[in-house]
Amino acid sequence: MKWPGASTVRGKLLLASILSKAAAFLVAGVVITGYDMMALRERLVRRLAVQTDIVGANCLSALLFNDPQSAETTLAALRADPRVRAVGLYSADRRMFATYVRDAGSERILPVEAPAGSGPDYRGRDDHLRLSRTILFQGKPVGSVLIVSDLSEVTDTITRDVGIFAGVLLLALLIALAINIRLQRAISGPILSLAETARKVSQEKDYAARAAGSSGDEIGALVTAFNEMLEEIQMQEAELRTAHDRLEQRVAERTAQLETSNRELEAFSYSVSHDLRAPLRSIEGFSRALLEDCADRLDEAGKDSLNRVIASTVRMGQLIDGLLNLSRVTRAEIRGRTVDLSSLAGEIVEELRQGENGRRVEAVVAGGAMVEGDPALLRAVLQNLIGNAWKFTRKRDEARIEFGVAKESGETAFFVRDNGAGFDMTYSDKLFGAFQRLHGQNEFPGIGIGLATVQRIVNRHGGRTWATGAPDQGATIYFTLGNGGRNGGQKDRAAGGRQSG
């Protein structure tokens, strides 16, 4: 609805009620007035017909005996009827015989010749009604009479009718308005209360609110249903909260249990690794002693076997060290500090360059990567990642290593990219597992603990790791640092130096 003031339920109800009443009244008014008008006209015509007949009969003798004066005297009797404006009496040859006019100026409404048509002929024209009748004598026409009557009776009645209707309409609408306003309180009151309650529930999440109103009609049923719904919601919400609380409690319990068993497991792993070291050292020491002291008594096959034993013990030692490292990383306390990853990466690249001189490696380090975290652990992360990159680009003539910052779905991610051996994305989920290796020991030596360590450290900082790459196309390892990484970022990416050696 586009009616003004109809934006509320109350306004709409009011408008509908008033409009329907007004329409009903108008229809009734038009019908009654129209009927009145028709009936009035009909009555007027009938009365006029009788009058015309009487006048005609009274004027018969005057016509027969050719006495216009007498006819005019007869016609003048019509002065008693104020509605008759003019009368014309016409002789058989259609000429004007006698006339009567109520007031000067009415003559012109009388035709000079008798109107055509022998029978009764009437028609309403302008503000008057004409009716003519033929006067018969012994069955033969001897003249005709024409009466012109005022229609003001009809128009007056219609005007009065319309006035009365307008008054009644106004009065009825006023009464209807008053009744409506009273009645509507009973209807719109509960609806408004319902709307207010609904608003309260949706905005304030106050499920304890209840709509008022308890009439026995549909609105009452609506209010009741609404309140029942609210009750249901309130109940379910309470249940939900209980369930939630219970769940949280269980999660806390499980977490505590898990932490305990985790600690126990780590302690076990640490002690096992630690305890394994002593026998391993003695195997290695005695093997070396055997190789040195009894070299002359051993043939080549024996020496080779011993060398293999020694190599294995060295490798096992490395494995144990890795495990211990991993365990330490897991157990170590994180000391939060501001760390400049960019300079850290630069240092590590320099160390690697000094350790293995003669390789051509282009290193690009983005500047200004400042983060919050544990300096020692973050150094381990970069050492592992850059070290891996250094290692897997060994076969490249133009090796390239890049440390950079990227925006990954709203969070700051750091990455180390190389153009080395790369990996098959099919195995990307195995990349960060402990002791998982995608390359042969002979090709690229290692114990498969580096990325596992990186992931643990990153996880402990609240971040995550992932990798992209392809075989022989290089690899990119990403990591975020949760909250710690946020204040880092590209303060000045352009400041990143481009180092080449």
Binding site: L60, S61, L64, F65, N66, D67, S70, T74, F137
Partner: protein
Amino acid sequence: MVAGARRFRPALLLLAVTALLAAGGPARGEEGAPGSLSDYQVKAAYLYYFTTFVDWPPEAFERTGNELVVGVLGEDPFGEILDATLRGKSVNNRALVVRRFANIKDARDSHILFISASEQDRIPSILKALDGAAVLTVADVDGFATRGGQIAFHTIDRKVRFDINVAAVERSRIKISAQLMKLGRIVRAGREGV
């Protein structure tokens, strides 16, 4: 004396016959075109009209076989005109017939009796003879109504008009309708000279 155009009146005293012929000339005044209707045509029509505005007592028709008799006493000034006017006409299912009388004794069974100007000297005796009879006496003799006749034609402004002696009408038990009454000049004189 013949009622006719007033201009002929001096001549009428000498030439009654000429006057009768002249009456066929313009007589209906401003309404009629010259020569359209003679005075006697009008009078004949009036006699016919009278039959419709006059009521006779029922016994007046007992001896006429339910015919309505229009009689002319004395010399007939109408000629064929009256017969032509009334031929085939009837009023209230009574056929109109024209009878001509020379003697008043024969004329008592008439309903309307036109007394010719030729009888004007005998009018008192004629009226006396008709006393008590339901006969409407009509004449175009001056002073007929005031002398006891019922209806007297006269001419005003070239129009044929008539006087009605109401007392004489009442005595004859004839009823003249108000419509006819209002057209005639009412004369209240009694039976003068009777």
